[in-house]
Symmetry: C2
Subunit: 308 residues, 2 copies
């Protein structure tokens, strides 16, 4: 049986970790603020497909408490400057056989981990899910629940495919790809403009961003600049990809982006994963992104500081 240690299991981790256990893996979790509740009762998950309880195969306060050598260490922490993922996982990565799995937003998020653990395989994962912590150990999941996983840097992975099979056995819409970077950029093509403008434009939902002339044009400009950076990184999106992204959003029922939800809750924003690293890759590759640069400066300024 595959031994999995899931670190920083928030709403996303509780949902996918529970499904992974249902698929046949042994899944232990490291949780911080909800430790007592999860230790006592596990996670109560109100999912789109029905309620379920996830009683982890071990509940720890941190990776250091985990007694074994896991096959997979999974991290679904937010990407924030003061969350040091290598430090978080280091106590559990005792063997070069342990695979590190990152389920996080943005681009360039694997670099620090790959550098800290050069002998370990790193699997980069893009998640499409709406999951919210509604109380200590309580999670609500709505809409899709999809994972696309691939080897950081590209290529095939036996252990990655094995993990995907376990997720699929747990009824997750999961897929292995040899080109996960493409899917990261594809998600950013939406996240970068819409998350950014939803906050900076003054609490705008998706429909408002597609309806107000000036911000609509700015969303498109940010998307074009993001696509130009993606192209400089080897991932080409067409003009049709961009316009259909806008059309899809315009015709979808209005909702708040995850960054706007964080902003309104006073939580820090994933500014660097979503926007800053795009600007940095642009600078490295000589791509001019003045509209993204402007938003990056403003978003850093409005993002609440500190670990909340």
């Amino acid at each position: 049986m595959a031994d999995v240690l899931w670190i920083s299991a928030g709403a996303v981790g509780a949902y996918f970790g529970g499904r992974l256990q249902q698929g046949g893996a042994s899944v232990a979790v490291a949780v911080r603020s909800d430790y007592e509740a999860v230790k006592a009762n596990g996670f109560q998950i109100s999912a789109a497909a029905g309620e379920f309880n996830f009683s982890p195969d071990g509940v720890y306060r941190s990776a250091a408490e985990y007694p074994g050598t896991p096959d997979y260490v999974v991290v679904s922490a937010k990407v924030l400057p003061w969350i040091n993922v290598p430090e978080l996982i280091r106590p559990a990565v005792k063997s070069k056989e342990t695979v590190i799995v990152l389920i996080q937003n943005g681009i360039g998020i694997e670099d620090a981990v790959a550098e800290a653990f050069p002998e370990n395989e790193v699997l980069s994962t893009v998640a499409y899910i709406g999951a919210t912590r509604t109380g200590k150990g309580f999670v609500t999941q709505t809409g899709s629940q999809r994972l696309i996983m691939g080897k950081s840097g590209g290529g095939d992975s036996e252990k990655g495919r094995a993990l995907i099979e376990l997720f699929k056995a747990g009824k997750v819409e999961a897929e292995f790809t040899e080109n996960v970077a493409y899917f990261r950029w594809k998600k950013l093509l939406w996240n970068t403009p819409f998350n950014t403008i939803s906050v900076l434009g003054g609490h705008l939902d998706t429909k408002q961003m597609c309806d107000r002339g000036q911000v609509e044009e700015l969303c498109m400009t940010l998307m074009q600049e993001t696509a130009a950076v993606a192209a400089s990184d080897g991932h080409v999106f067409t003009a049709e990809d961009l316009t259909s992204n806008m059309e899809y959003t315009r015709n979808f029922p209005p909702y708040k982006t995850s960054m706007l939800v964080d902003y309104e809750a006073g939580r820090p924003l994933e500014v660097d994963a979503i926007l800053g690293n795009v600007c940095r890759i642009a600078a490295k590759n000589g791509v001019k992104v003045p509209h993204l640069d402007t938003c990056y400066a403003l978003l850093q300024s409005v993002s609440p500081k500190g670990d909340k």
Copy 2:
């Protein structure tokens, strides 16, 4: 004696109108919401130089009620899309001898008036003053109280110089210039970056804008783009002008920009006068201002709509 009708006499109008009367002019006012209070008691002005009462030589609800033919029609209304200055003043501009005086922020604000009254002289005025309406007919003025006035389009003006003499007799620091456009751009060189970022950067005072690395850099970039537009309009500012603008602001006691004050009070912002017209002049002259364009779209989006 010079007959002056002052239209939309808010805090700035009450202060300078009162000083103009003290200087020897006959000053009537058109006021809207504070009509009853001003009709009964005039304006009570708590000025930096001491308290004074300004009892206008006539108090009207609008220009249409003014019985005579004024020598000067002065407008100190905010520059907002739904405030139509030509319509506001038209009933009082019965003679081509009447001089129209605009005391307003921004650039390109004279165009509509010059077009509507091609035979009338238009005096464009830049004001440096901190004046706040603290109640019906009550105004507080702090700091400087300076006017720079010139003929719209440039050149000398006998009637402009005569009006300046009256302001000076009323102890206003007033100056006539043959090149008022230069002073408009000079004020914008500060207003455009700092007013904009104070709002978009998340309620930042002047010191915070000069201290936070990323927004400080963005302020400088916006100032450089504004200077490039000014240069394309014939007004050259040096790199030293820009750095000294930043240095001055960094070393001045922190305060909130007028746009941030408006924003926090839920009032609409002078987006077009301060930012939009700069972007429009840039487009007309072929100057690329992507950072200003980005802020313009965002500022329009966050500005409260409607007449408040």
